[in-house]
Symmetry: C2
Subunit: 296 residues, 2 copies
């Protein structure tokens, strides 16, 4: 396996981005913003959603299949695992399955938290599966931080319903959209109240909140309004993209000839939902999503 530093780039490089669903499009969005000459291939393993309820062995097998598809069939020279569950449970299996550098979302999130926090106490919100893996707590602990994790199961369905932003609301009338966003803001307030109360009871003094789910970037401005004054909000999707750009972006601008940015999106099922919701996550149209069969 080669490290990002000793790669030889002879043509416009392709970066492979993998998620179990389409939440990872928020990581791709951040990558697209930073790398104007790269080619991207994204795959969402939507047929086998959700990974969170499956065993580590099954998740590792599924994730390795997607990683091989990106490297062997799409020519990816670098993989970003834009899925917290797969990053937590299958990163080693993916690294063993392919011969290109592989980056998950958890280490960059913890790294950004370590850079941001002065008190050394951080809060992490994520899905139930990610919290149960305690991968963020371990990655934070390895950097000398104390981390308190909380599962927030209502946030993913609120994002998928589109109750996130009145400007985003294309289907609902304005009054409805405002009421919907008010609900999401109130849900966030309740979750943060519970988390801050628990942190206080543990004698912690948190000054940093990590958004540990690829759906949560769509809630970032609501979180920034809701956190106590002075608390920093770290978006692990953005942190992963920045880390990828540092590792790989240099090659991007050195590659000759400089090609225009290109993107292909693949899904193993549910292309309809991917196309319908994906554009909101990507911040631009996802285009045609190609159906791909990875086998068992």
């Amino acid at each position: 396996m080669s490290s990002p530093e000793n790669m030889t780039v002879t043509t416009t490089p392709t970066i492979g981005v993998f998620d179990s669903g389409f939440g990872g499009l928020t990581v791709l969005r951040a990558l697209l913003a930073h790398m104007p000459h790269a080619r991207f291939a994204f795959i969402g393993d939507t047929a086998r959603l959700p990974y969170g309820s499956k065993s580590q062995r099954t998740i590792a097998r599924y994730a390795a299949q997607s990683a091989r598809f990106l490297v062997n069939e799409q020519g990816a020279k670098f993989l970003v695992i834009a899925c917290n569950t797969a990053s937590a449970l299958a990163l080693d299996a993916i690294k063993a399955a392919v011969s290109v550098p592989v980056l998950g979302v958890i280490e960059p999130g913890a790294e950004a938290a370590a850079a941001a926090s002065r008190t050394g106490d951080v809060l992490v919100i994520a899905t139930d599966a990610t919290v149960q893996s305690h991968a963020y707590a371990a990655a934070c602990h390895a950097r000398g931080l104390r981390a308190l994790e909380k599962a927030c199961p209502l946030l993913v369905p609120l994002v998928e319903e589109g109750w996130t932003d009145t400007a985003d609301a294309t289907e609902a009338p304005a009054a409805h959209a405002a009421a919907q966003v008010a609900i999401t803001a109130e849900v966030i307030r309740i979750y943060l109240d519970e988390l801050n109360a628990e942190a206080a009871a543990l004698g912690m003094n948190p000054d940093t909140l990590v958004l540990g789910c690829t759906h949560y970037p769509l809630l970032r401005s609501l979180f920034e309004h809701a956190v106590p004054r002075g608390m920093r909000v770290i978006d692990s999707a953005e942190s992963a993209a920045e880390t990828a750009v540092r590792a790989f972006g240099q090659q991007d601008t050195e590659a000759l000839p400089l090609a225009p940015q290109a993107l292909r999106c693949f899904a193993t099922d549910s292309v309809e939902k991917f196309e319908r919701l994906g554009s909101r996550f990507l911040g631009r149209p996802v285009g045609n999503v190609e159906l791909v069969d990875l086998g068992g």
Copy 2:
């Protein structure tokens, strides 16, 4: 296959109840209330949740395995499929797999709507998978009703978070619990507003609302407060239990000797979540949930 009418009951009968998860415990709760001398075996196929994202063929195979377990290993003489997805997509496969009477939740719900509605226009709320199957619309249409269906993806996670009832809130302080229930009430108001507006645009005059998901009985009182004046709320879990009692309850009281009610609960995985949340759905402790392996 025998019909309920020509069964011979020689000992206390066992009624098998099947769900892909534990939401079907609301159907079991209604059955327990009506049948004081029956024995019950409940299985939740929690290892293979959620059924909604799987193909009909896979759902049929999984559901048939659970049905055979209830009949062949637990001696069930009657099966209630307390799962809307399996009722919509696998009822024929289950009936073919076992030799006892089988009852789903959709036909009883539609039957109760037909009995309740005077205008002939009914609203149905359910999960995305159930709505996409249009099984309720078809069952209503077969009874001369017009049905408008709506998926309400936020309601299952709200129920599973326990944001349903201030009296239920054992973990949250009272002020938090009130704020949580207020959110659920507001989500219900928004969904019903959207549904009623769509019905009005179609020229419908609905007077009946069917709760087409086994999680929704925990929201029944919130729905009864939220519907327009005069609209009836039909709970398909309760309707299925009443139908089962009519078909099977007679044998219950005729069985000699009359035994006390008994209940065994099985799950294929996630016993922890089942035990933690199940009691709220069942309205009493679920006791020890036994882990069972159904194979493939």
